[in-house]
């Protein structure tokens, strides 16, 4: 156990180090001078030089890299060039939108995919299997931002059930906040649920053909009992992997959906920061998102360990 854990931890830290170097290098080649951007085209050369000095842009690259990484380890993500507030503060604000959005979408995804996948696999070849597979085939082909536009058209423009975009904020009550996230969450969840349904179905079909299912049936378990007690539990391993990837995707990949609905989330923050050359925001938020992805994958690896006793014994 401790060996396995130590191995995973080392690879986690190594991935983070390499990722931070890659992000830093990409930022180095990003054209455009932040100082110029802040002061505008008519800035005096000496004012520009002074601001560059103040922003620490004149320090050698290695010093800036370590300054950035060590800062982040202390929770200091730098100060945004455009917003003039600490990046950490921006991140905390925006996470209040992105995290609930990701959690709600993932919950929807699992709630749809789990039963749909089980029904399709348990009644393989039936009409319901055919329907589920047909719908998911469409679901994976639909771009989520297009689905979002259609949802806005139907539920905001025609039916007036929800607003077409923007975020009401959590301070006006839980329901008001949640209401702004309903359509974006559905738009994000549909394609993800389609993918997960297919994974669930094929994982379950694999386990259903295993010998231990035949044994379970032979010892007198009903089809349903064998399904729930043995097949579903064993099918969860590949499903868990995909759920982990999907959570990471939903956290970072909501960038387009946040743009459709004008939601002030992390994705939109990075997107705007890229356009405004607010490099410190881009660098730190991208690093945070990569950290989230790598960390979720790490948790999934640990999850295997909890789910699969064979792994535990081998370690």
């Amino acid at each position: 156990m401790s060996n396995y854990l130590a191995g995973r931890l080392v690879s986690l830290v190594l991935s983070l180090i390499v990722a931070s170097i890659v992000i830093f290098l990409v930022m180095e080649v990003l054209p455009g001078d932040p100082a110029q951007f802040i002061l505008g085209m008519n800035a005096q050369p000496d004012t520009l030089a002074a601001l560059r000095e103040q922003l620490g842009l004149n320090a050698p690259a290695l010093a800036r890299y370590f300054g950035w990484v060590l800062g982040m380890l202390h929770g200091d993500f730098g100060i945004s060039y455009t917003y003039r507030v600490p990046v950490a503060e921006l991140i905390v604000q925006r996470i209040g939108v992105s995290l609930p959005l990701a959690v709600i979408s993932l919950a929807l995804t699992v709630l749809i995919a789990f039963p749909a996948g089980v029904i399709a696999a348990a009644r393989r070849g039936s009409r319901s299997d055919f329907a589920v597979m047909g719908i998911t085939q469409f679901g994976v082909a639909v771009p989520n931002f297009w689905f979002a536009i259609i949802l806005v058209w139907v539920f905001a423009v025609i039916l007036h059930w929800f607003s077409a975009g923007g975020f009401a904020g959590w301070d006006k009550g839980l329901w008001t906040g949640l209401r702004s996230l309903v359509l974006p969450a559905i738009a994000l969840a549909l394609p993800q649920a389609s993918i997960l349904t297919r994974v669930m179905r094929s994982a379950l079909l694999d386990t259903l053909s295993e010998d231990y299912i035949r044994s379970a049936r032979a010892k007198g378990l009903s089809k349903g009992q064998a399904l729930w007690r043995h097949a579903v539990r064993n099918a969860l391993i590949p499903v868990l992997t995909i759920v982990g990837l999907q959570f990471a995707f939903l956290l970072a990949g909501a960038i387009i959906i946040e743009n459709v609905f004008f939601l002030p989330g992390l994705g939109r923050l990075v997107f705007q920061a890229i356009n405004q050359r607010d490099l410190i925001v881009v660098k730190s938020v991208v690093m945070l998102l990569v950290f989230a992805v790598i960390f979720v994958n790490f948790l999934v690896d640990l999850g295997y360990f909890a789910v699969d006793p064979r792994l535990r014994r081998r370690a």
Binding site: V22, Q137, V270, V286
Partner: protein, 287 residues
């Protein structure tokens, strides 16, 4: 991969018996046909404005209506399919061109430092949120179709490298590879002459999948304004423009979206169908 060699005739029968393949092939041919057609004929000049006839619905004169400048939507859809195809095609080519050799190389030197480095680098690319990095790349090098291709292509590399390595590794211990080694062939030669032809089927299926993902990614980049730049029409850009007009002219949002959905659906069905045809065993276990 079964040892039984499928004859051409049995392959053809299997192809026609697979509804996924037939439907997917028809849609894909239509899609490519649209792009080719757009070079020689469109009902109108896709960029020609006709303000008095703006935001018209579906009519005999304008099959898919007109947009806010009175431009013909059907013509834009036709020309837009070129953008989708080109970006997705080149992005897949980048992935295959770099990923497959890397995968073959890693498999030939399985367990070596090189193998380890290639696979770790792949893992690392997977850890980056793809769309975010694509946006970053297009922001670094400027928006446009070429940079969209690079951004999407980079993420195709690890997909093909990993797939190739996995498939190649399962072939290396096989007898025919051993025979080639005994005959004195080098690892590179064996990889190209014996391994590659035997994993082509798997690769072709993945190509169709990555192609459809490429079309979705191109649409997403174009939607946020980082794909092909105006006046070049692209389906994602059309959707972005339609968003504020959805209450006045919903067809502007519906039509380009349906174009994307059907194209991606067609490619996915084609991929499923091909997998069934190439690997009858898998089909039996899947259904």
């Amino acid at each position: 991969m079964t040892d039984a060699i499928a004859t051409r005739g049995s392959m053809r029968r299997a192809a026609l018996a697979s509804p996924s393949f037939v439907a997917g092939a028809i849609v894909t041919v239509l899609f490519v046909g649209m792009a080719v057609l757009s070079f020689i004929w469109t009902p109108y000049d896709y960029a020609a404005q006709d303000i008095p006839n703006k935001l018209k619905g579906l009519t005999a004169a304008h099959w898919f209506g007109t947009d806010q400048y009175g431009r013909d939507v059907f013509s834009q859809i036709l020309v837009g399919s070129r953008t989708s195809i080109t970006v997705a095609f080149v992005a897949v080519t980048v992935g295959v061109g770099i990923g497959v050799p890397l995968g073959l190389w890693a498999a030939a030197r399985n367990g070596s430092l090189l193998d380890e480095i290639i696979m770790r680098a792949n893992d690392l690319i997977f850890a980056f949120p793809a769309l975010l990095i694509a946006i970053l790349i297009t922001a670094v090098f400027g928006p446009g179709a070429v940079n969209a291709v690079i951004a999407i292509g980079i993420f195709n590399i690890p997909v093909f490298a990993r797939l190739t390595r996995g498939a190649a590794l399962s072939l290396w211990p096989r007898d025919f590879v051993l025979a080639a080694r005994v005959a004195g062939k080098g690892k590179a030669e064996i990889s190209v002459e014996h391994i590659l032809p035997n994993i082509l089927n798997t690769l072709v299926v993945q190509v169709t999948i990555q192609f459809s993902l490429g079309i979705l990614a191109e649409a997403a980049l174009a939607y946020v304004g980082l794909g092909a730049q105006p006046p070049t029409p692209s389906w994602g850009k059309m959707l972005a423009d339609s968003q504020t007009l959805v209450s006045l002219a919903p067809h502007l949002a519906i039509i380009p979206g349906l174009a994307i959905v059907f194209t991606v659906l067609g490619l996915n069905l084609l991929g499923d169908g091909l997998r069934d045809i190439f690997d009858p065993q898998l089909r039996r276990s899947r259904r």
